[in-house]
Amino acid sequence: MGLFSGLLEKFDQFSKRSWSYSRKSGSLESRQTGSSGGMSTNELLIRLELIMGQGSGLPLMDYSNEIAKLSHPLQLFIFSETTELSELSYEHANEFLQVASTALTEMEQRQYERWLLEIKQALITGNDADASEHIKNHSSYTSEGDSNTVYLSDLTYTLEKLVYSIHKAELPLAEAELSSKSPLMSYTNNEVLYLPTSISHFDNYEDNHRLYKALTFQLLGQIQCESADAIGTLNEGIRHHGEKYLSFFSRIETLRIDQYIKHSFPGLWRDIELLHESAKIDYPSDFFASANLDSVQTSLHLTATLLESTVNLPKLVYQSSFQLDLMAHVQKLTGERKAPLILNPTTDVDDEILDTLGDPRKADRGYLRSLKDSKGDSVLKSPPPGWIPDSSGGAEEEQHTTKHHEKGVFYYREWDTSLKKYRKDWCRLRETIDTDVVESMDVENMEALRHAEHRIRKTFDQLVNDQKFMRGQSDGDEIDIDAWVSARSSKSKDTDDYQNVYIRNNTNNRDVAIMFAVDLSGSTAGWKNSMIKQSTWLLCKTLARMGDQYAVYGFSGSGRSNCQVYPVKTFNESYTKSVKSRIFSMKPHQYTRMGVAIRHLSMLLGKTTAKTRILFVLTDGRPDDVDSYRGQYGVEDTRLALNEAKALSLKPFVLTFDKEGMDYLPYMLGSSRYQLITDISQLPIQISTIYKQLTT
């Protein structure tokens, strides 16, 4: 899973407890307390005893006192990590507890995550002394101590997009699983590029950054140079020669991919050469001098030859690992099995060839390739069931993998006020057309409505008639004879009079686009809803006569990954029966995540080219959603979303039924951009008056 989506998911899990915990890259504990109270010392002690055992002689009470000062999420973090460590080594778990509360207060989330990762890595590989060393040296993981470390999360966005621009299909970056072999372990299954969470291999930031890029492109190279085609021969070779075969192949294939990089991305190649220097590698530049680089068979062939020789190829720092199981998965997916053209000397040649010739799946190759080319992802992107190694969030992962290809789905950022930062692609919004059958399009209280309709008409007619012709203009389509006559007869012979003798027909200059964003949260159920429907209907009917562009969208949703927008009438639709039925099928849904709805509808409105563009939000309360989108957070995000709308030169206006709205609306919008409706039956008339004010 993409690291970012991984983080998102973590956020989802934690946010249920406290949203202040999970900033994208974490933050210092001092800023982190606040809204979430931690557990009491007693509760902590009981939990610690559960993990470390009662009567162990450890100063668990002291630990509890220290941990009690931390926020709830951090306490939970300590428990889960202590549990994990104690399974690896009881000693180290204790060492960890000694420093945990001090260490965690001075580190950011990703720093302490890296800290624990390295501790665990050392334990897994049996380097107990190193692990103790890491635990003691916690201060070297703080911002001051770790200026050389590069985090994947900082590069994910750029690298993913960079890869996308080359590969034309999404290859998300994700954290590689912890490996006992190397902290630089990276691998791919042709769908996701797995990379280390952080790199601090070199003692300077630049080289570590280069290393990330080199690793990424090696993985991309595995895909583009079709390394996975080697799987059959590789398995054979390993059976005959052991792991040594794979290690030889990996080194040689890395060199082959290097050639691809050198040829296609000379800039990156220069960076890689710098890495060679920093790592003091004697690079075998002429290794592939004359060989045919097009096929992985070349590498296999060389592997077979070199196995018996004394040639010593260096292990390059950026060598990615070739995971046989993942490669086999790729093979299965593409349904192809290629004949090894250059066979391992020890393999039975005839059998292999016969085997392949008779393979009916081989014919599928062209077809699958063409699918791969044309659709980019549909075939390859849907992983077979039960495959994804990190099975914790299959569904979520899929959404993120395909996020830029799904139709009618949009991703928007959201402002996290505690972080003072946008969370990128945070909200997932879907446009859903409500196709419910409407029970009745009849309106109650027809008499009152007719009256309202009449008044709206009058207001609007004034608008239209107000500005038919503009006389005495300096430029225009027609001559203003009156102006000319008066200029001629003017005694003063002021030449200026002759300038302004044109009439400008301004009917079309009333260039207005308006977007009605209607809050369809659960709280609008009942009479509010029917009033909203009736007003919308009246407005649409009258607006249709005006020639102004207008659109109506409802919004609601629950949670950041399920934001909904319901198109009732789009800009390029005209008012028809089906629009009417959609108006009357508007019904209350779930919550009010206002920010994302405003962002989406601003985007749509921003696409129109009218001179005056109004975003009209009709709501019954403050922003509110599950996953902590409420209070300050919701108001701040909505405020930012409205500011973004203003920056697009849209005019936002909020009409609310919420009597408490005056608390936050002035802050959210600035003055005179909101209005409170006390008498909902006045809604249509109020809207039309505001409309007039806004458009003239």
């Binding site: 996308y164 079309n508 390029n572 696409k607």
Partner: protein
């Protein structure tokens, strides 16, 4: 009050052959459309050679070219003509479209969707087999001579649905699709226009392709051939390629800091 405006044709003739490298069979299609008196619609992103193609065709067919860049205040009067006041009397002044019709020129309406809705209606009778231009204010109907030809350009990419062409307008035209040329052709164009060595041109085209893959993913439009030509000229004048790409491509395409970083990263990868 009326005056038969005829223009000094030579002003609108293109004397030297403009450099144009065909990317498909657009030249043949255009010639056929001319012969059959069918108007032509050029569709494509910005900077992909539409204007250049028109200049080339004007030179090739030896017909004068009148270009009108449409903007959102362009009225019918701006196209057809209007009365002006001179020395106490009114004088009729032909608009560019009328001039083109009267003189049998090629009239090229650049970015037609930008123009106000009502303007497209005046070209309707001109674009079907009647081929007449009604000038309401003069009470005239001008029959277009066979040499007259109407072309419009239009960029479907970033246009909003609201500003789409009406089907009744669309369906009067033959459409030529101008998307970016194939990589080798494009490299040749850049090479020719900026006389930069071929290897560097190919690299620039590769960069452009990468940016084009990002359309909808941070960019509204990818780097156009025009940008490549500009950048190639910078490099040719001795600028460091990375620097030239930043000024000529990355910073031109977007202001969003994150996307700029990404574009810089692309440049770092390629150069």
């Amino acid at each position: 009050m009326t005056s038969e405006n005829t223009i000094d044709n030579s002003k609108y003739f293109i004397k030297d052959e403009p450099y144009y490298l065909p990317t498909g069979n657009e030249v043949e299609i255009f010639n056929t459309a001319l012969a059959e008196n069918i108007p032509v619609l050029l569709k494509g992103p910005t900077g992909c050679g539409k204007t250049r193609f028109m200049e080339y065709m004007s030179w090739y067919t030896k017909r004068p070219l009148i270009t009108v860049s449409c903007h959102d205040d362009l009225t019918t009067a701006d196209l057809v003509g209007r009365y002006l006041i001179q020395n106490d009397t009114t004088v009729w002044q032909d608009g560019p479209l009328t001039t083109a019709v009267r003189n049998g020129c090629i009239c090229y309406l650049d970015e037609i969707v930008e123009a106000r809705k009502d303007t497209t209606v005046v070209i309707h009778p001109l674009c079907d087999d009647r081929r007449i231009l009604p000038i309401e204010k003069l009470g005239q109907l001008i029959q277009a001579p066979p040499d007259f030809c109407l072309t419009m350009s239009y960029n479907p990419g970033y246009q909003s649905a609201v500003k789409d062409l009406k089907p009744s307008t669309r369906q009067r035209f033959i459409s030529i699709d101008f998307s970016y040329p194939a990589a080798d052709v494009e490299a040749k164009i850049v090479n020719q226009e900026a006389s930069l060595d071929m290897a560097a041109c190919e690299r620039l085209v590769k960069l452009a392709e990468m940016t084009r893959n990002l359309v909808g993913n941070g960019l509204d439009e990818g780097a156009s051939t025009r940008l490549l030509v500009h950048t190639a000229k910078l490099i040719n004048r001795g600028f460091e390629p990375k620097m030239a790409c930043r000024c000529g491509i990355a910073d031109v395409l977007t202001d969003d800091p994150e996307t700029v970083t990404l574009l810089h990263e692309m440049i770092e990868t390629l150069f």
